[in-house]
Symmetry: C2
Subunit: 341 residues, 2 copies
């Protein structure tokens, strides 16, 4: 009968996405999904909206898009130190494109399986392509990593490398830019990237790695954490604001990937790494007495962890060069409403 229900059944209910796991008592197909929590746990929840043309290119491959859409939500769970439990999907699509739905569903499944986080419900409507995902996780009561615990003297760390996703966006958007403007606006040294370089950046944007095991390992050790979605300076700014402190960043320490150093103009490297969003690495603060425990725990997970600064008294994030002198950068975060102001 209704195609809405057929699509939900084929691509979401019966596609493997709604697998069973402890805690999920009822999934797709009734008025509500039902979830149980063991005593001693809190439920963590986070919602992200993604819209075509704003958060991803119009021609985004559906499988990669599905993977990314769930990954960015799992990243918020990671930043709170929560283990994934289940997710809901509100999907608005312009029409019924079976190939697109198949790919998108498979992309979601890739992430859902890896993080044992089944789909349990949602909604499907016809409209512009927009993806709303709410991810749910569980966390032992009182152990969530918040933004508000940073204190002067705590050290600032980031996982992985920064700037790759912002470079990726420049690469993905390049075909739409007039070629005359390309050379100056492009962050890349050469107008053509090798296919290996393109793959690296494409993965950085579409397949960010939610740092879930890191978040879990940081419980009780990190004093504050956030995932880097808007850009390091902007997101560390949220920690600084919530904690009522300042921060000094040693920009020379900010970790860059080899591929980014290889093909991005030198003057564009730090702006991408400090101001570009979408990397979904974790930024954390740690009291000195916990630093070696944190470094060991993250090393045991084979994740790169770099100390990039220190929390100080104050109310802002200040960037310092390797002579300890303040430096500024033009772009300090992605803001969907900048163009309106």
């Amino acid at each position: 009968m209704a195609q809405e229900f057929t699509i939900i059944e084929r691509y979401f209910r019966d596609s493997g996405l709604q697998f069973s796991r402890p805690g999920i008592d009822l999934g797709i197909g009734d008025d509500c999904a039902l979830v149980s929590l063991e005593p001693g746990y809190q439920l963590a929840m986070t919602m992200d909206l993604l819209q075509e043309g704003v958060h991803f290119p119009g021609a985004a491959p559906p499988a990669l898009l599905g993977q990314r859409a769930l990954a960015v939500n799992l990243s918020d769970l990671a930043a709170a130190g929560a283990e994934p439990l289940c997710f809901t999907l509100g999907l608005s699509i312009p029409g019924v494109d079976q190939d697109w739905l198949q790919g998108f569903s498979e992309g979601l499944l890739t992430m859902a399986s890896r993080f044992d986080c089944p789909l349990v419900g949602g909604d499907l409507i016809q409209g512009v392509l927009q993806i709303a995902i709410q991810a749910h996780g569980r966390i032992p009561t009182g152990q969530a990593l918040l933004r508000s615990g940073a204190r002067p003297g705590h050290l600032v760390y980031v996982t992985g490398t920064l700037g790759d996703a912002a470079a990726a966006l420049a690469m993905l958007e390049a075909p739409e830019r007039p070629s005359a403007a390309d050379d100056r606006q492009s962050p890349f040294q050469k107008s053509r990237l090798s296919s290996k370089q393109r793959d690296h950046f494409s993965r950085a944007f579409y397949c960010p790695e939610p740092r879930v095991p890191v978040g879990v390992a940081l419980r009780g050790l990190a004093s504050a954490a956030i995932d880097i979605s808007d850009g390091l300076i902007s997101d560390l700014g949220h920690i600084v604001a919530a904690s009522g402190v300042g921060a000094e960043l040693d920009v020379a320490q900010v970790p860059l990937s080899g591929v980014l150093r290889e093909c991005v103009k030198e003057e564009a490297q730090l702006p991408l790494a400090l101001g570009g969003g979408d990397d979904y690495e974790l930024c954390l603060t740690v009291a000195p007495e916990h630093c070696s425990a944190v470094e060991d725990a993250v090393a045991a997970l084979d994740v790169r962890l770099t100390r990039i600064g220190e929390i100080v008294s104050g109310n802002a994030v200040q960037c310092l060069n390797n002579h300890g002198e303040p430096v500024t950068f033009e772009h300090t975060g992605y803001n969907h409403f900048d163009s309106e102001e």
Copy 2:
């Protein structure tokens, strides 16, 4: 700094929408919201997307829209027998219209306050006007009202009256229709409704009453329940499908409001009541031994409850006239994807 955060603070975090209540440990402003459940409870969750031009008219008054957007989600909680706990909001807006945001926020607050259901998080982006709400409720473990418990011999009931919201949609959309087609397509007897009639229909569409107390009272008594969002025949069809049964509807018993009888053409009354959606009344099935308890419990809440049919063996919803003869109606439910097929 970023206008995104200013909007969230002004209209959502500091507008009264994020009030405290037991169970909500952390709301807007961190990577995740944190919720606790007392032992012995399950969490019920439901998400609805609303898009301008599909689910509400383009010129919808923002306060009424806010009220409706939350109400339709609370209605899903009601249909499961859950008590509201909190909600999240994913809001996509084309630009920053302070009056619209103020009105929308106030409309949400009207419903949130009445049902003790604060806002705890979400996302805000720039895009076409689209509203994603996920409502969360709690329910004693194992007591949720499902769609799957109807058995032959159970009686079918509905709360309130049906068809008013569908008539309202015809009224709200009328200004956009060419006047030549109006007379035939309009369900109304006269081309102009009185302001009292207009108010009645406008309220039916924008201010549906989530039947939360009814849902709670039905725990352990109703064998199945659903809220009527797509239309009675379509939604009772979901109960029938989930329960593996059929249903016979005595269409003469379907409750119509006085205003609908007054101003809707006689031949349009039943099609609106049986096929029109958006009423958000509850449809329930009850085993004969619980009927008087259900009737008493709902009467004690001052809610109209009408017996409209019976569950039978079979696999479809059949409409019978007052001679017991099968009748059919053209529209049997709202389907966002009909136009695509």
